[in-house]
Each structure stands twice: as structure tokens, then as C-alpha cells.
């Protein structure tokens, strides 16, 4: 960039914005290959059944049908899964949820494939499904998986909660339940696979983690990793749903390998809603104690996450609830017990928030209850307890830097003050209220080691290429990488070209999940660029006979500012017979894994924080809730691209409000009744007010330019803020999400009289 112009900290348009706006971005659906066939998946209509017989004769005989595959046709491993290989890509003996895959067909046209799919005759012996996660935990319950229905158990023990509750003057306790929701990205899952003359397989897929898709495809095909190449296509959203279930890649690959023809499998919206991973529904019980002066003494919680038919990442999701379940507060005594439990439902997996939004609703609700009982203002009460620099978290981690949560609360207090004049409605049945929700989110997956890698190739004209395995799924990481490289190398953004999402050319950086890309991969890119620059400066130092630290690289030239001397990189490279400078950046966050017995450790190098304020209007006669105003304050460390950060937060508020008020899969005896955007109620622009975003920047010394991340921290407090606002408006505690009119109405019927009518 120009000498005094910065690339970091400046709002810049997405590098792919123009392509997207012009409709030129290539999504899976846009791909056509010569001789391509279409695959369709035969799925179980029953939540739990034994497969008695699969008859493919009629389907195979249809003109245009080129393949009909069942489990026996899978050449390699038949099971996939990021933590445990428990999900069959095609079921052979039993099906475990409505939508479980039984066979795969392919034909020369999509319509023919659909006909063939419907012509596969599967005889089932229908079994009683296991639907309630609590009942599923009983040893007498039918077993969804051979190892038992309790898939994982995670604990946290800090201090002694008995002591903590004895020290408390006020104790509140309550149960909550949250629903199953879908990511509802605009683009459903899809993949195209092709086998070349050497037998190597290439897959184009919308994905959050192409390297993981490669692993699973290689295992399923029974070939080595090097013979599989996965290329990420422009990805229309992920939110966790396009990580951890690489089935669609496997289906396309199986068909291509079997037939030798390029194969495409594209899920319909119905298939996506019915069969791909979801957010874990939770059953939660919490108990929180505090002293009269407003200090938290103990938190005890037990929660059960319904992980559906397969584990996917259930263990890790519930583990995150456990480590985050005491909130961003100093609590001396904490006890958490979290379970992931199998049931005969669509598998739950990763979804933005990863177990934190569920528990945030519970603990933030109870903090409001405590504040009320203690006659303390909810924000003041929280400020007495929030983590600050030097505080210890519930996992025993001491936070030395970048703890901006108190500042988000202080700014929230200002926003609340601004909202207060708008509490009046002029209609007796319409009541308004303001609620606050606070939350946090550890950056990156809670384990060790975790690593991000990037290469920077610096060219003679000063421009550079960045190669990184972390993919952009619409959140803007490619733009961020270009900003970081441009900042380090002193060139305008258009001099940086970013390559991601191709397993052949980019290093495995792990998934675009866990709010980890800015912090981990951003650091890797920064380190690589810094190293490339360092090498160039060393060459120049030799040339000028000075020290590299006295030199500046800008716009393709190395300058000696003191002596007004400069040399172009082109000349410098020529002089030293260098064609380009390639540098590798590797970053590993400093964490220690959690002790399995006590849940103690430092699972994340740093945390993002946020306080959100919601103003809602409740119609007391109908139970309808409307979000009227919203302010979101997030501590992001440093906003590298402020406009992109704001976009993340606005999106999170829309998603979180839908979670709070309207979204949810509706089940009838294990069958999803609303696998359609007409009936799965996402909120629309008409339902959401403009979101006021306030960025707090408590710099993280180990982050790139102080940055942490914002994807999930912005999601976690939303539902809590909305639910607390409903209480403030009408004095009822919503314990069951979503707060649809019937739920709110039912709660209103049991309400105690309001203290004072506004």
C-alpha cells in the first residue's frame, strides 16, 4: 500500500464481491463436465429399521441408468466421521434416522436418476425409534449405536460447588430446552467427481475443509491421499454444516470411480434440511449462586446434547459447552456434566456457536434472575463478575491479555440508555423490554496441537501469491489474507493473489471452523509474508552494506530511508540470481488440553467476547414477539476488515434471533415435517431491525495485528439477549426455544402479576 496507507484495519470490499454480484462465481451447481452423470441417494423413510432386502433390479434396468450401488459396492472403508467412524456412507443392515442412505443411483439425466432412486425397492423391518435423549440414556433403551446411547461424557470440576452454594445468599435453579436447527445456507451440499486417465480422482465440492473430504474419499475408495484431489468451489455458506460430513464427496467419488464418468451429486433443499448435520438440541439444568453483594459463588450444570444417529463432532460440541458453561465470569466453584447422546434423528454436528449458544441461554437467563433477586442492575451485576485481565476461567486458565468483555458491557449500558425512551408503545397489550446477553468463545478447536500453515511467494515486482489451506466460505478470509500480505509486503491489495481450497497446491490448515481462521491462518500468512520480506531485506542489506532492520519494503522496492537510497526487487533478485522468494509460515496456538477428569486446562490461546442488547416488543394477547432494536458489542481484538466484521455480526444477529424466536425442525415420531424454507421458519428482512454494531478492540498480543475472530462469539449471546428482553417486557421466563407465539402465550398464562405496569 502507499507509504502511509494501511491495508489492515481498513474496510475493503471482498475480493470476490464483483464476481458474486455479477453472477460469475462458479458453484457446484454450475459445473458441467463432458459425459457427466447424475447421482441420487436412496434414503430411508423410517427413523429406525432393519434392512431386510434391497432390490435394485428394476432401477438397474431403466434406460439411462448407469450405476446402482449399495454398501457392498464400496471398495474401501464404509464408515466416515471426523471423531469416530460411525456413519455408514451406505447402510447395509440397519438405518438409524429418517434419511439415512441405503443406495446410490446414477443416470445420464437428473430426472432419470430420480426415477431410478424411486425404483429401488427396500424392504424394512420397522423398529421403534429412540427419540427422547433423556430416555435414550437409560440402559433399557434400544441401542442406536452398538456402544450404547451415551456417546460421550465431559466433566468440569473446579473448587467445590457444595462450598460455593453454602457461601451463596441467593441460589437460582432452572431447566431449559433448545431445539434442533439447521444452518440454512443458501447453497445446499453438492460435489462433482472425475477420474483421470491415471486413475486419479478430482472432486469439486462446496466445503469447509477440502483436506478432510480428501481423507474420507481416499479411505472410502481405498486409495492413497495423493491420488485424490479436492477443489473447493465457491461455497455459499457453511456455518459448520459443510464440515464433518463429507458424504456428498464420497457419493460423487464412488460413482465416478465405478463408472469412469464424471459424476455430480447435488442435494435438494429437502435433502439438505432432512439429512445433513444440525445444531444439537439440548436439555439443560442449571443452578447458580451469588452473595448478597453480587459475587458469583458457584455454577452447577448438567446438559444433554442430542447428537442424533451419528457422533460427527458431538463429543467436542458438548465439551465446548462444558468449558464455556460458566460464561465469561469469575466463578470459584464450578461443576459441569455434559453428555452427547445418540437418538434416531438426523445427526447433529458443528454449527456456529458449537455448544455455546445453548448454555448461554441458560446461564444468562439465570444471571438475570439472580440480578433481580439481588436488586441489582443486570449489567452492574455482570460487571462485578466478568473476566478481566488476570482472571481465571472455569477451566483454570489465567487470561493475561485481550479480555474486553467488561468494555462490551459498559458500551451495552450506553446502548440500553439510548433504547430506554423507546420502551413505550401506546397500546396496553404491547409491552417492550430490554435484555442483555453476554457470552464468550474460545478461538480455535479445544485441543492441542492445532496448526495453520501458509506459503507466501514474493515476486520480483513486489507482488505476491499466498497459498493457504483455509477456505473462504463466504466470511471473507481470502480478502483478509490479502490484506495481511499486502500490509506486510507494502503493496496494494491487488498485488496479492490468494490461492486456497485446493488440496493439490495448498497445505492442510485444518477446517474453516471454530472461529480459527483469522487467528490461526491469519497468523500463518503474516508469518510467511514477514519471512519472505525478511529474506528480501537481508539481500538488500548485503547490497547496501547496512542492517536489514534499517530497511523498508514498499511497492516492490527496498528503501534505505535515512540515505534516500532504493533498489527494486527486480534488480535485487537479478543480482542474487533469485527468481522468487518462497516462505513458509506455521502457527500453533499455545494451549494445553483439558484434563478429562477435571476439565481443567488452557484449551484456547485466546477468547472472543460479546455483550448484546435487544429491545423486543411482546404482544400479550397473541404471544408474538418482535425485535425492535438491537445493539451488538464484540471484542474482536482487532478488526482487520471492519466492514466484514460488521457483516459477520449482523448475520449472527439474524441467525440468533431466528434461533430465539422462530426456527426449529418439527418432528412427528422421528420424521421431519418441515424440510422446506416455506415451513422451516427463517426470519426475513421484514422481521429484523437494523443492527447497531460496536467493535471493541482489546488487542491479543499473539493474534495477527491483535486480531482474534468474530464468527461464533457474535452468535452466542443473541438468543440469551432476546429471551432476557422478553422477560423484561412481560415478566415471563421462556425456558424452551423457540419463543414462538404458542410458547410465549403459554408462559404468559402462568405469569405472576408484573411489579409495575409501564
Amino acid at each position: 500500500m502507499a507509504d502511509n496507507q494501511k491495508a489492515v484495519g481498513v474496510s475493503v470490499p471482498r475480493i470476490e464481491a464483483r464476481e458474486k454480484v455479477l453472477g460469475r462465481s462458479v458453484y457446484v451447481d454450475d459445473l458441467r463436465r463432458e459425459g457427466m452423470i447424475w447421482g441420487k441417494v436412496v434414503r430411508s423413510p423410517h427413523p429406525r429399521a432393519r434392512i431386510v432386502h434391497v432390490d435394485v433390479t428394476e432401477a438397474r434396468g431403466l434406460p439411462g441408468v448407469v450405476a446402482v450401488l449399495t454398501a457392498a459396492d464400496v471398495p474401501g472403508d464404509r464408515y466416515v466421521g471426523p471423531l469416530v467412524k460411525d456413519q455408514p456412507i451406505l447402510c447395509s443392515s440397519s438405518v438409524r434416522f429418517e434419511g439415512d442412505a441405503v443406495a446410490l443411483v446414477a443416470a445420464t439425466a437428473e430426472e432419470v436418476a430420480e426415477t431410478a432412486r424411486d425404483a429401488v425397492r427396500v424392504e424394512y423391518e420397522i423398529l421403534e425409534p429412540v427419540l427422547d435423549p433423556i430416555a435414550a440414556m437409560s440402559p433399557e433403551a434400544p441401542q442406536v449405536q452398538a456402544g450404547g446411547n451415551v456417546a460421550s461424557y465431559s466433566k468440569l470440576r473446579r473448587g467445590d460447588v457444595e462450598v460455593g452454594f453454602r457461601a451463596a445468599d441467593v441460589i437460582v435453579e432452572d431447566s431449559f430446552s433448545t431445539q434442533m436447527i439447521d444452518h440454512a445456507y443458501l447453497e445446499p451440499e453438492g460435489a462433482v467427481a472425475e477420474v483421470d486417465a491415471e486413475g486419479k480422482v478430482t472432486i469439486w465440492v462446496c466445503s469447509q475443509y477440502p483436506h478432510y473430504d480428501r481423507q474420507e474419499v481416499a479411505r472410502v475408495l481405498g486409495v492413497s491421499l495423493a491420488r485424490v484431489r479436492v477443489i473447493q468451489t465457491t461455497t455459499g455458506g457453511g456455518f459448520g454444516g459443510k464440515f464433518g460430513s463429507p458424504l456428498v464427496s464420497c457419493y460423487a467419488a464412488l460413482l465416478a470411480a465405478r463408472t469412469g464418468r464424471p459424476a455430480k451429486v447435488l442435494y435438494t433443499r429437502e435433502e439438505s434440511l432432512r439429512t445433513t448435520v444440525k445444531r444439537h438440541p439440548y436439555r439443560i439444568h442449571y443452578k447458580v449462586g451469588a452473595t448478597r453483594s453480587g459475587k458469583l459463588t458457584a455454577v452447577e450444570a448438567r446438559f444433554v446434547g442430542d447428537t442424533g444417529a451419528y457422533l460427527v463432532v458431538g463429543r467436542a460440541v458438548v465439551g465446548k459447552s462444558t468449558s464455556h458453561g460458566a460464561g465469561p465470569y469469575e466463578v470459584p466453584h464450578v461443576k459441569m456434566d455434559g453428555y452427547a447422546v445418540y437418538t434416531n434423528k438426523a445427526p447433529a454436528g458443528a454449527m456456529r456457536g458449537y455448544g455455546v449458544p445453548q448454555v448461554a441461554v441458560a446461564y444468562e437467563s439465570l444471571l438475570d434472575e439472580l440480578a433481580r433477586k439481588l436488586n441489582l442492575d443486570p449489567i452492574e451485576f455482570r460487571l462485578k463478575n466478568v473476566l478481566r485481565e488476570g482472571s481465571q476461567t472455569a477451566t483454570g486458565q489465567t487470561l493475561l491479555h485481550s479480555v474486553g468483555v467488561a468494555e462490551t458491557l459498559e458500551r451495552a449500558a450506553d446502548a440500553r440508555r439510548e433504547m430506554t425512551p423507546h420502551l413505550k408503545t401506546g397500546k396496553p397489550y404491547l409491552k417492550r423490554g430490554i435484555g442483555v446477553g453476554v457470552s464468550w468463545h474460545g478461538i480455535g478447536a479445544a485441543r492441542s496441537p492445532s496448526q495453520a500453515t501458509a506459503y507466501v511467494n514474493l515476486c520480483g515486482d513486489g507482488s505476491a501469491t499466498v497459498l493457504c489451506g483455509s477456505v473462504d466460505i463466504g466470511q471473507g478470509s481470502n480478502t483478509l489474507f490479502s490484506q495481511i500480505a499486502a500490509e506486510e509486503l507494502g503493496v496494494p491489495l491487488d498485488q496479492i493473489s490468494v490461492v486456497t481450497g485446493d488440496t493439490l497446491t495448498t497445505p492442510d490448515c485444518e477446517a474453516t471452523t471454530a472461529t480459527r481462521v483469522t487467528y490461526l491462518s491469519g497468523n500463518a500468512v503474516r508469518l510467511a509474508a514477514e519471512k519472505a520480506k525478511g529474506t528480501a531485506l537481508e539481500l538488500a542489506a548485503k547490497h547496501f552494506g547496512c542492517l536489514p532492520e534499517h530497511l523498508i519494503l514498499a511497492r516492490g522496492k527496498v528503501q534505505v530511508p535515512d540515505a534516500a537510497l532504493e533498489i527494486s526487487l527486480t534488480d535485487l533478485f537479478k543480482k542474487h540470481a533469485v527468481q522468487q522468494i518462497s516462505a513458509l509460515g506455521v502457527f500453533s496456538p499455545d494451549c494445553t488440553p483439558l484434563d478429562p477428569e477435571t476439565g481443567q486446562g488452557s484449551p484456547h490461546a485466546t477468547y472472543g467476547f460479546g455483550t448484546h442488547v435487544a429491545l423486543v416488543e411482546v404482544d400479550q394477547e397473541t404471544g408474538a414477539v418482535r425485535l425492535v432494536d438491537y445493539a451488538a458489542f464484540n471484542d474482536v481484538g482487532k478488526a482487520i476488515n471492519p466492514q466484514a466484521v460488521e457483516g459477520q455480526i449482523e448475520g449472527a444477529v439474524a441467525m440468533g434471533t431466528g434461533y430465539a424466536l422462530s426456527e426449529g425442525m418439527i418432528f412427528d415420531r422421528g420424521k421431519i415435517l418441515n424440510p422446506s424454507f416455506a415451513t422451516y421458519l427463517l426470519l426475513t428482512a421484514a422481521d429484523l431491525p437494523p443492527v447497531r454494531v460496536g467493535l471493541v478492540e482489546a488487542p491479543e498480543p499473539t493474534g495477527p495485528y491483535g486480531a482474534k475472530g468474530v464468527g461464533e462469539p457474535s452468535m452466542n449471546p443473541v438468543a440469551a439477549a432476546v429471551i432476557n428482553a422478553i422477560y423484561d417486557a412481560v415478566g415471563v421466563r421462556i425456558r424452551e426455544l423457540p419463543a414462538v407465539p404458542e410458547t410465549v402465550f403459554a408462559a404468559l398464562k402462568t405469569r405472576q402479576p408484573l411489579p409495575a405496569d409501564r
Binding site: D619, I666, F677, L681, A686, F745
Partner: protein
């Protein structure tokens, strides 16, 4: 989706002839207005017609036309046009408001009045292809299942609710439907157009397989007519009514001369509540009477296990609707 033949008739008579011929040949035909509902039904295999008769190829089926004091609305008029039409907004507010509250802006741009009143139910079980009564099967899954959106009145054997927003408004405004069939046109009062499942569980109205809704006729708006449509829903676009009401009151000297109150979202047809209407007639309106009217409107409701919340919700809607129609002072 099964492939079908698309037919572009040039006139209503030709369209009727196509339907009649298809019927004689044992073929299934479906009418398409804007196609916004039909297309979804086709994709979900809920209808599998051999031919689709595209009504948009017929000219003269759209638009809002004054004819003396009456107003004729072609079946192909879009919901958006109805929602914005100055004459309708002024004199037949219930209809304009109902059209403007239906679905989403995109759907209102293509969705037609004919398609809106003839759309099929949005019951989850029906739309998911369960073998329920409406799909030709032998049970109503909602009875023992997820029935939070189902009928309070007139249910059995199917407990669907009529999904159309414009239908209750049209019944409240005493509209008439002009239907074209093989023996020419006939006029059916809106109220008689819709039928309960116990009359014919496979359809929601009297229209025969070879008939087409051509036009909706609104009678002269009497002096003192005020009407409105209120709708409660889970989100502010793209969502059917949990409950709604089309209300039309005629005022004279501060008293209500005549009232028509028609609930939506509570029954398999637009549900008129004559007992509540009678309470209003001859009276001047206040909060107390509005409450009585609301109670009377919901008297006799028979909630299922999960839709009881609709009763108080509907009462509030009725009360607000009538109070909003107080005559201009």
C-alpha cells in the same frame, strides 16, 4: 418431477375444452396461474399432471375493472396489483390488505388471485406426502401429531386450515366467483365456493375438474362500509396465518347496520361467525362489546392437543379488528 405437456390456450373456452378432453381421456390436468404454488406441488410429487394448462396465455383474465358500482377482478390479477390498487385500497380495504399480507413480495408479484383462493392446504403432513386424507389416504396425521397449526372449527375427517389470506376477505366482502365450465359461466357466492372436508375430503372448493375460476366480482360498496384484514403469523413475510380475520362492518349513524366477520387459519374454509356478527348489528361499538363479539366468535371452538393457544389469539384478533373499524367520527 414427472414430465408433463404444457398447454397454452388462447381463450377460456379453449381452456375448458382442454380440461374436458383430458377428463374424458382419463388424463390429469392442472391449472397454472402464477404457478407459485403449483410448481412446489409438482416438485414434491403431490400432483403429477399429464398436462398443465397455462392460464397466462389467455388475454383479458387480469386486471381490476369497474363496472358501474361493482368491481370485477380477473383471476390472473397478481396479489401485488390487488394490494396496491387505489380503488380496492379505498373501498375494499380488507381485500387489498389481505393480498398485501400474503406470502412474500416475490410471490405476490407472480401469485394470482385465482391461484391464491385455489391453493392447496399447507398442512405439514399433506405437503410432506404423508398418506393422509388430503393425499387420498385414510387418516389425518395431525389428530395425534403436530397439530399446532390445525383447525379449531369444522375439522374432520381432515383438520387442515384454509391457507388463503384473500379468501376470508372475499367472503367478508360478499364477493362472487365467476366460474367457467363446459356449459358456460356460473356465479357462486364466495361463501358457497369453499367446502368442508366432510363434504369432499379431496378438495377445498366446489370447482369441478373441468372448471376454471375466471373472475371475482365485488358488489357495490355500500355507504358506511369499513373493512380490514388482520393476520397473526410467526414471521413477517412468507408465512401463512396462524389466525386471521376478514372483517367488514357497515355503519349508519354511529351504529353497525351489518357485520361480516370471517376467520382465517382456524378452519378448513374461511370461517364465518354469524353469532358474533349478530351481536354487533344495531349497536354502537365499544371495548366491552368488542370483547363479547370476540368471545362469541370463538364459542364452540374445538382445539386439538396443541392448537389451544389459537383461541385467545383469535379472540384478540377479532377484538382488534372490530375496534379498528369504528366509524370515522
Amino acid at each position: 418431477m414427472k414430465s408433463f405437456v404444457n398447454v397454452n390456450p388462447k381463450s377460456l373456452d379453449e381452456a375448458v375444452a382442454v380440461l374436458d378432453r383430458a377428463r374424458a381421456q382419463g388424463k390429469k390436468a392442472a391449472l397454472a396461474g402464477g404457478g407459485s404454488d403449483l410448481l412446489g406441488m409438482l416438485k414434491d410429487h403431490l400432483v403429477q399432471p399429464d398436462l398443465v394448462v397455462n392460464l397466462k396465455s389467455i388475454s383479458g383474465l387480469e386486471g381490476v375493472h369497474r363496472e358501474g358500482e361493482r368491481v370485477r377482478i380477473g383471476a390472473l390479477t397478481t396479489l401485488d396489483e390487488i394490494a396496491r390498487h387505489p380503488l380496492l385500497v379505498e373501498r375494499y380495504a380488507a381485500l387489498a390488505q389481505a393480498a398485501g399480507l400474503a406470502a412474500s413480495p416475490q410471490i405476490r408479484n407472480v401469485g394470482t388471485l385465482g391461484g391464491n383462493v385455489n391453493q392447496r392446504p399447507w398442512c405439514h403432513y399433506f405437503r410432506q406426502g404423508f398418506p393422509c386424507f388430503k393425499n387420498g389416504g385414510k387418516m389425518c396425521y395431525a389428530v395425534a401429531g403436530e397439530n399446532q397449526f390445525h383447525a379449531l372449527f369444522g375439522g374432520g375427517p381432515a383438520f387442515i386450515v384454509h391457507p388463503s389470506d384473500t379468501a376470508p376477505a372475499l367472503v367478508a366482502l360478499e364477493a362472487e366467483f365467476k366460474v367457467m365450465g363446459p356449459s358456460g359461466a356460473k356465479i357462486i357466492p364466495a361463501e358457497k365456493y369453499f367446502i368442508l372436508p366432510r363434504e369432499d375430503v379431496l378438495r377445498e372448493n366446489v370447482l369441478g375438474e373441468n372448471e376454471i375460476l375466471a373472475e371475482v366480482i365485488l358488489p357495490a360498496a355500500p355507504s358506511g362500509l369499513r373493512s380490514t384484514y388482520l393476520k397473526i403469523r410467526d414471521r413477517q413475510a412468507w408465512d401463512h396465518a396462524i389466525v386471521s380475520i376478514g372483517a367488514a362492518l357497515e355503519w349508519e349513524g354511529g351504529r353497525c347496520r351489518k357485520a361480516r366477520l370471517v376467520l382465517g387459519g382456524v378452519a378448513p374454509i374461511p370461517w364465518r361467525v354469524p353469532n358474533a356478527e349478530r351481536l354487533l348489528e344495531g349497536k354502537s361499538l365499544g371495548e366491552a362489546l368488542a370483547r363479547q363479539v370476540a368471545e362469541a366468535a370463538l364459542a364452540g371452538a374445538q382445539p386439538l392437543a396443541k392448537n389451544g393457544y389459537k383461541v385467545p389469539l383469535a379472540k384478540a384478533t377479532v377484538r382488534r379488528a372490530v375496534l379498528s373499524l369504528l366509524p370515522a367520527a
